[in-house]
Each structure stands twice: as C-alpha cells, then as structure tokens.
C-alpha cells in the first residue's frame, strides 16, 4: 500500500487497469465466440420466398432496395396446364384471347405466350421485363394450376443482411435459406 505522499505512478496503475480490461475483453470475446461457434452455420444464408406463404401483396415489386426488384416471377412448366385461357396471362374479362396488351394482366407484358399445339399454349417469363408484382401469380394461383410464383433471383439480389421486403411481406413468406439450396421451387404435379 503506497503512502499518501507517494502515490503509485498513475501511468503504471493505468496500464495495469488497462491490461485487466483487455484480458476481460478477450475473455468476453472468447466466450462469445465459443458460444456462437456451436450454433454458427457453416454456410451463409440467402433470402428466398416460400411460395406457399406468399399472398401476392405486391410489395415485392415496390420494397426491394434495388430499383428493379430482385424478385421475379418463375414458371414451373411441369405444373402448368398450358391453358389457352391462362388466368395468369389474361385480364379477368379479356376482349379476345390474343396477345393484345389490353388483354394482359401483366403490367409490363413480361409473359410471352406461344402456341404449341392445339389447344396448348406455352407461357414464358421475360425476366428483363418482370417487375415481380405478382399479378400473374395471383391469377394463376386463384384460378389455375399455381405454376407461376415469385422467387428472389440470385443473379440480381445483393443479399442484404436484412431483406427490406421481408420486413413488410404481407404473407411473412421470406426466410433465410442455406446458400447451397437457394431456391424454393415448386416442383411437379
């Protein structure tokens, strides 16, 4: 115990406190690391939409941090009925079953309709045009086979730490999926 007139050198006392705090900090970090390492996933996550939960609220088109949403419509042709009267393609009461823009549900005319053989038509999404609004998805799910659905496209998605659509998704349909299984595709009949 130093006497009152001879205080221990403040510098060394401070250094001592500092090392103490440093060791405490290291211990804390180590403990945290140990605790978290047990739970840490080996792989990173990416965001994806569970098509079963999506309610086609339209926020995918508006709430992505990217100006052009990273969410696009995806078509699983194996489920598609190839209907002449595609309820994902046509407005509820189309003037005619042709490719006239006024008949189409899609605001950007992103669905390409092609005659295959009587009576089947093929529908393909042009991802350059699709804005991920989900209008076609709604039509297809409500009245058709549900072969159209929305997915986060990973060539566009910048994989935000917190997806800004996920926060506002009306269907609570976004979730983190392992990077090696980055899609939640509908498969077949």
């Amino acid at each position: 115990m130093p006497s009152l007139n001879q205080p221990s050198s403040p510098v060394s006392r401070r250094d001592f406190l500092r090392s103490g705090a440093r060791i405490a900090g290291m211990t804390g970090a180590g403990a945290l690391l140990g605790l978290m390492a047990q739970r840490a996933g080996a792989v990173t996550h990416v965001w994806q939409i569970d098509p079963a939960k999506c309610v086609r609220c339209g926020r995918c088109a508006t709430d992505c941090v990217l100006e052009q949403s990273a969410v696009k419509c995806v078509h699983t042709h194996a489920i598609c009925g190839y209907c002449e009267l595609c309820t994902g393609y046509f407005e509820p009461e189309p003037n005619a079953l042709n490719t006239g823009a006024e008949n189409q549900l899609c605001p950007t005319a992103a669905i390409i309709r092609k005659f295959i053989e009587d009576p089947y038509y093929e529908y393909v999404i042009d991802e350059q045009l699709c804005i991920g609004c989900g209008k076609c998805v709604e039509g297809c799910n409500r009245f058709g086979n549900g072969s159209l659905y929305l997915q986060v496209r990973h060539d566009r998605c910048v994989n935000c730490n917190e997806c800004s659509i996920a926060r506002v998704c009306a269907g609570d349909a976004f979730r983190r999926v392992p990077v090696d299984h980055p899609y939640l595709l509908k498969t077949s009949h």
Binding site: P10, A29, E84, E117, V124, N161, E162
Partner: protein, 447 residues
C-alpha cells in the same frame, strides 16, 4: 363469341372453387403430341459459398496490413492505398454486405433467436476488428472499413468541431449501438442496415431518401472529418471501448515529443490531446476525487432511473416488430369488419392473422415481453454511458506528450509527418534542425 362464353363459365366455376380455398393444380398437365420440350426454370446461383473465405482472407489480410502500416511503417501513403482497395473491394464490389457495422446485429439475433444460425463470416467480421482493436487500436477504421475509407478519402478541408459538441455528439453511437442490439435481439429489425447511409451509394441503387442522406453526409464529410465514424457508427462505439485499453497505440512521434506543438492541429478528427501535468501534491486532486466518489455513488441510481425509462419505451418500441404490429392492427377496435373490395397488402396481412389469431397474439405477447426486458437493459446502458462520460470528466489522465486519444484516434496516420522527429526519421529534415527536447520533459525513446 365462343371463347368468351367459355371464359365466363370457367371463371364462375373456378371463382366459386377459389373462395372455398385455393386448391391449385386444377387442370391436368397436357399430353403433347409434338416433340415439344418443356423449358425448365433457370436458377441463377448466388455468389458461391467459397467466396466468403476470400472475404475473410481479405479482411484478415487488410487488418494485418493496416496495423503494420499504421504502427510500424507509419505510412500515410500506404494507408491511403489500402483505403482505396478496401473501398473498392468491401464497398463497391461486395456492395457493403456483410460488413462489420452490421455484424453485431447478427450476433445479437444469433444469441437470442434459436432459429437463427449465424453465418461464421458474420461472426468473424464482428470479432476480428475488435480483437485487433484490443491490441493495436482502431486500425480497422484506418483503412479496412469501406465506410471509413470513403469518408477519409473525400475529406478536403477539415474544420474543427468544438470539443463540447464533439463530446455530446460522440455519445450517440453508444445509444445507437444499444438500440440496434435491442431491435436485433428481439428479431424486430436491423436498424444499422436500414439506416446505413453509404451502402446505397456503394450499390449505386436505393431509395431516394437513403441515397440523398448518403450524398448529404458525403458533402458534410468534405469539411467535417468522418461524420459517420465519429457521431453515428455503432461498431465504432464498440471499437472505441476496445481501443481504450489497447496494448499498443498510435504515437505521433516515432521516438520522443519535443512539445513543439507542430502536430497540435494536425488531426482532422479531433483526437490529439495536449500534455497534462499532474499536480505535484495529491491533495490538489482531492476535489476531483470527491466528485468522482459522489458520481460513483450516484451511478446506480442513474442507471436505475434510465432503465426504468427504457422499460417504458418497450411498448412503443415493440411496434417496430412486424408480428407485434400485425397483432395490434388485428385487435385494433377500428379494424374494418370486411376486407376491402380490392385487397391491399395490409388487408392481406390481416387475413393471414385471421387464420390463427390466438397464435399470433401469443407470439406478439412473447415478443413484447422480450422488449420489456430489453427495454430495461437498453435504458440501463444509456445511464451507464452517461454516468461513465460524467466520471471521465473528473479523471485527469497524466500525459507527458502530445498524444492521440486511444479511443478517438482512427489511426489514419495524418499526424505523423507533422512531427519534426518523424521528418528526421524519414530523412526530410537534418537532425541538427530539431528543437531540443525540454529538459524537464525529455523522454527516453521508447524501445
């Protein structure tokens, strides 16, 4: 028109079907007679998982290099070079994600949400810069963090921020840190990511508001050194605490300080502190000691008071959690009984709530309970920060030299060449031109 009639017929039938409950796959798959081949949906791959090892290696390498450049090489040029690289790699190429600033949130969520396995990259981005700061100060800020690098490179005409303002604004990062951890741990939202001003610039894409904020901060940053780092960055608050006890530190002079005062104004971040002579008798310190003692006694009361205030904030805070917000909207007295004719996102969310209102309510209640606990902790943290800052006012750090403050110094290396001793070391000045060290203060060169 045949098609039209058929259409209406189907429409009616299916419309009825759809109201019962959306059963998909209503039509059988076609049996093609031609040799038509079905297209398969493309699944463009995300950035490969292996690339995260590259990120980690760049981070570790960058930290090592920055530390060496700042502490050993004492090279501002080298740090500028590394800053440009980090800005390009972590900023523009990696588009700002994952970054150390956001990582504490992943850690908080990982700790409190069993369903969330934190990616080890996020864990490493959280721990590595902090571990380095415990030993070598904030060399991460110097040249590895893309946010720091961007602001450092655009600083052209620094103005001095008055000390009182600096001290006041400097508290905000601690508050922000506390709030961000609270919202992340409760699974509500990632505040640091949401209000990150520079990531939209790195992506050259984003909402008008955030891009505008980023640009505004950049313009401000041309005159006020690193405004985000000093007055906002929550990870900076963590680094400050770590750097405060660092083993090694930035010293302006390579050997000893002659108190020539040439470096006094060199730091654009207000980190340089003047020498303080301790009073010769310990008695002179008595008033400080008494004040310190009083504060120490008051500290628990302060913490308790702010903690209580924090717990009051739990209810409003919890509304930022989407589940709580939905449960509130669902149980709101003025909720419209019937959904609107044209569905809106909100009405769709309410319809979802309607499928399991009790489950949702239970979840919301559980979340709010977590917010209550979190609110106490958050409030207590605020009190602690305030209390410690007050106590720091009555501490008299003994300093013989002009020295950077450990916590505030961003290790940018600007001050080095202001020191004549450094100029001698670099061969820019003849040793004879040196002012003589004041006899009373001469320090032997540190080994």
């Amino acid at each position: 028109m045949r098609a039209r009639g058929l259409f209406i017929w189907i429409w009616l039938l299916l419309g009825l079907g759809a109201t019962v409950f959306a059963a998909e796959r209503r039509f059988p798959p076609p049996e093609f007679e031609t040799d038509y081949v079905m297209p398969v949906a493309a699944t463009p791959e995300p950035r490969s998982a292996a690339m995260q090892y590259v990120d980690l290696a760049v981070l570790a390498g960058g930290l090592g290099l920055a530390t060496w450049l700042a502490l050993r090489r004492r090279s501002r040029k080298g740090l500028i070079g590394l800053s440009i690289f980090s800005l390009v790699y972590f900023g523009f190429y990696r588009a700002g994600c994952i970054c150390a600033i956001g990582a504490p949130q992943n850690v908080a969520l990982g700790l409190f949400d069993n369903g969330y396995a934190i990616p080890f990259t996020a864990l490493a981005f959280f721990i590595l810069p902090l571990a380095v700061a415990l030993f070598a100060g904030r060399t991460f800020c110097a040249a590895v963090c893309p946010h720091g690098a961007l602001q450092d490179l655009i600083l052209i005409r620094p103005v001095k921020v008055p000390a009182w303002l600096e001290a006041g604004l400097g508290l905000f990062p601690y508050f922000f840190l506390g709030a961000g951890l609270l919202f992340a741990a409760t699974g509500a939202t990632f505040l640091f990511c949401r209000y990150d001003p520079f990531v939209p610039l790195f992506r050259m894409n984003g909402s008008f508001l955030m891009v505008g904020l980023g640009l505004g901060l950049l313009v401000l940053g041309m005159f006020v050194g690193r405004p985000y780092c000093r007055f906002v960055c929550p990870y900076g608050a963590l680094l400050r605490m770590a750097a405060a006890v660092s083993r090694w530190r930035i010293r302006i002079t390579p050997n000893y300080c002659t108190q020539c005062r040439l470096c006094e104004e060199s730091c654009p971040y207000g980190a340089i502190r003047e020498p303080v002579n301790l009073p010769s008798t310990p008695q002179a310190l008595a008033p400080d000691r008494r004040r310190m003692g009083r504060l120490l006694v008051l500290l628990p009361a302060l913490i308790l008071a702010t903690a209580w205030l924090g717990s009051r904030l739990a209810t409003p805070f919890s509304k930022l959690h989407p589940k709580v917000a939905l449960a509130e909207a669902y149980h709101a007295p003025d909720r419209p009984a019937a959904p609107p004719p044209v569905a809106t996102p909100d009405s769709l969310a309410l319809a979802r709530a309607d499928r399991d209102p009790d489950g949702l309510l239970a979840e919301a209640v559980a979340i709010r309970k977590r917010f209550r606990i979190g609110g106490w902790l958050f409030g207590g943290w605020i009190g602690l920060v305030l209390g410690v800052r007050l106590m720091a006012l009555s501490l008299r750090p003994a300093r013989n030299d002009f020295e950077p403050d450990r916590s505030a110094c961003l290790a940018c290396g600007r001050c080095y060449t202001y020191c004549p001793n450094e100029r001698v070391r670099l061969g820019l000045l003849a040793p004879e031109a040196l002012p003589l060290p004041p006899a009373t203060l001469a320090q032997p060169p540190k080994a």
